[in-house]
């Protein structure tokens, strides 16, 4: 008798899977109109930045007047799943694949070299071998890079306080991306009349000591995109405030963590830029191989009001004019 119950349960389960397919995120359930444009969105994981990029893309398409059947799939951080998703889109014969995050884009590239792919939230598309070069992608892939506008961020130091000369950076030595950023910061600093002093850490417990040691040597602190620093951003911010130091961050999330200010990317805007690229491919008929990869055109200044007050800065300073206060 129990066996019957189990097999009934299994049957119900299988039927419900079939029914659930009706709850998929396909926006159009009617038979496919041969003229309708189909787009497959392959997102790597659930993450506020990636979600924002997707929404920006979808809104951007609407603003450009493009009507498309969009299917959205999320790999929940699992790379083989993102590969299966890409393979499914290929099998379905979509007109374009929008891939959000590096692994999702690489999986899409592996799945097809014919269907055009537009990516977003990829920091270094050349390094990831998605494109041959930023100006001339050379294949079926192009898109938008979320590389931080570090030049704009570093400029903020002198704009807030022209006496700042030495800027400190704490970074995790085992994050390759961090070393790249430190190197880039040093190159940019030279052109801005700043000097970078860096200190490397191995574990998160090293952060308080590292910050203490660097505070003695510098006039201000810059926080790069680094997972370890991000998880202890409040520590860095508070120590800086105690020592009356200006801090500039690479991301909005740093400002939420009490870093004074950033001039950063809006993933939502980046998504919209991606939609424009999609239009050039789908409507204007351009090949992705000749569409240059774009970085964020519009950046957003965001500041932390409490930090500003704690540092005794003047809100009427030019710097803060077009800046937004961070929401709690």
């Amino acid at each position: 008798m129990k066996k019957n119950v189990i097999s009934k349960l299994l049957t119900i389960f299988l039927i419900s899977i079939v029914l659930l397919s009706g709850c998929s995120s396909k926006e159009s359930q009617t038979t496919v109109d041969k003229k309708a444009i189909t787009i497959g969105i392959s997102q790597l994981a659930e993450h506020p930045a990636l979600d924002a990029a997707r929404r920006g893309f979808e809104d951007g398409l609407k603003e450009l007047g493009i009507e498309a059947d969009i299917e959205y799939q999320n790999a929940q951080g699992d790379i083989p799943t993102s590969l299966s998703i890409a393979q499914k889109f290929v099998k379905d014969g979509v007109d374009l694949i929008f891939a959000i995050a590096t692994s999702a884009a690489q999986s899409a590239k592996q799945a097809t070299d014919e269907i055009p792919i537009v990516f977003s939230a990829v920091t270094d598309p050349v390094e990831a071998e998605l494109v041959k070069s930023m100006d001339s992608p050379g294949g079926n892939i192009t898109g938008t890079s979320d590389e931080s506008p570090m030049d704009r961020q570093l400029k903020l130091f002198k704009e807030i306080d022209s006496s700042i000369k030495k800027v400190g950076i704490v970074f995790n030595t085992s994050e390759p991306n961090s070393q790249v950023q430190v190197k880039k910061a040093k190159e940019l600093a030279a052109t801005l009349g700043l000097e970078i002093v860096e200190v490397g850490i191995n574990t998160i417990n090293d952060i308080p000591q590292a910050v203490d040691s660097i505070i003695k040597k510098v006039d201000a602190i810059y926080t790069i995109t680094d997972n370890m620093v991000a998880s202890a951003i409040n520590v860095v911010a508070e120590k800086a405030i105690e020592n009356n130091m200006i801090t500039v961050g690479a991301e909005e999330s740093h400002v939420t963590g009490s870093i004074l200010i950033t001039d950063g990317i809006s993933y939502y805007e980046l998504g919209k830029q991606s939609a424009k690229i999609a239009k050039e491919i789908l409507i204007d008929g351009k090949s992705p191989s000749v569409i240059p990869v774009e970085t964020a055109v519009n950046t957003k200044k965001v500041y932390n009001e409490e930090t500003l007050n704690a540092l005794g800065l003047d809100i009427n300073n030019e710097v803060f004019k077009d800046a937004e206060k961070i929401a709690k």
Binding site: I6, L20, S25, G77, A128, E129, S174
Partner: protein, 303 residues
């Protein structure tokens, strides 16, 4: 639909190698080796390093097996020589491998699009079927050797191994090395299949491996036709096919993970209830027999 089944089977075959590796530690040795999450990408990164310096992809993949087995050696040394509990030893190996993986190539993501891979010589499905069969046959033969049996005995009853004059630690080490070697091999295959190696490849890999073994176990547990390696392979393939169907049906992405979990739960429940069910008929049958005997005896006594 067809091509999605094929790609699901292909991924299933790659994970079948992983499942066979996990099978050795989790089922034969009865040890929870958590280093798996670090060993899988370790194999991928070793392969990437070798193939980027010009080594033939076939040799690179096999070397990934060899070097990957060292991860098992590390776990073995930690828990045998330093007497750290196996669970913790595995975690320590995994965290060490994270740093090692980053240092091998200096980056967390290595594209392999411009390098040769084992899948260049023919259809992926064929290559994978041949590879998995070869591994399965070798493993089966190994488990029939004296050392193979001692491996099984070590997981079953360590004091027996001692009384046979063998050192159970030696066999745990062999098991760990073999297991991690297979897992690294699987990682190298996956890197070539997806076109890149990435530090996040190992996340959640234990769940896939265990799910494959659990699903495989529901297929005729003690049948002589399907022995344990076959069941691990079938389990991995079925797991991936179910996932593939879910994606193809366009299920809401948020539900994908929940559905995988539900599938595993259903398989476990079926397994447990089915054996309980069999036990309960046996009990009922025996009670009935005893009752009948008593009735007959009573009747006979009257006469």
């Amino acid at each position: 639909m067809n091509s999605l089944i094929i790609t699901s089977i292909e991924q299933g075959l790659i994970f079948a190698v992983l499942a066979m590796g996990i099978f050795i530690t989790y089922k034969i040795l009865d040890m929870a080796d958590l280093s798996v999450e670090g060993t899988f990408p370790f194999g991928a990164f070793i392969f990437a390093k070798l193939v980027s310096t010009g080594v033939n992809p076939f040799i690179s993949t096999i070397l990934a097996f060899g070097i990957g087995s060292l991860a098992g050696l590390m776990t073995a040394v930690l828990f045998i020589k330093l007497k750290i509990k196996p669970l913790l030893a595995g975690i320590l190996t995994m965290t060490t491998l994270y740093s090692i993986n980053l240092r091998i190539n200096g980056k967390s993501n290595i594209p392999l699009f411009n390098f040769e891979s084992v899948f260049d010589i023919g259809p992926a499905l064929l290559i994978l079927v041949v590879t998995v069969m070869a591994i399965k046959i070798t493993l089966d033969q190994f488990l029939k050797t004296e050392i193979g049996y001692l491996l099984i005995a070590t997981g079953d009853n360590e004091s027996l191994v001692k009384s046979l004059g063998a050192n159970s630690n030696k066999f745990k080490t062999i098991g760990l090395m073999l297991s991690n070697g297979l897992i690294a091999f699987s990682g190298a295959l996956m890197a070539q299949y997806q076109g890149f190696a990435d530090i996040s490849m190992g996340t959640g890999i234990i769940v896939i491996g265990l799910a494959s073994i659990i699903i495989g176990d529901t297929i005729k547990k003690d049948s002589s036709i399907f022995n344990s390696t076959t069941r691990a392979i079938l389990g991995a393939i079925i797991y991936k096919i179910i996932g593939g169907i879910a994606i193809d049906l366009g299920l809401s992405p948020n539900d994908l993970k929940a559905i995988s979990a539900i599938i595993v739960i259903l398989f476990i429940a079926y397994n447990n209830l089915a054996s309980d069910f069999l036990a309960s008929i046996k009990n009922k049958g025996e009670k009935k027999y005893a009752n009948n005997t008593r009735i007959i005896e009573k009747v006979l006594q009257r006469h």
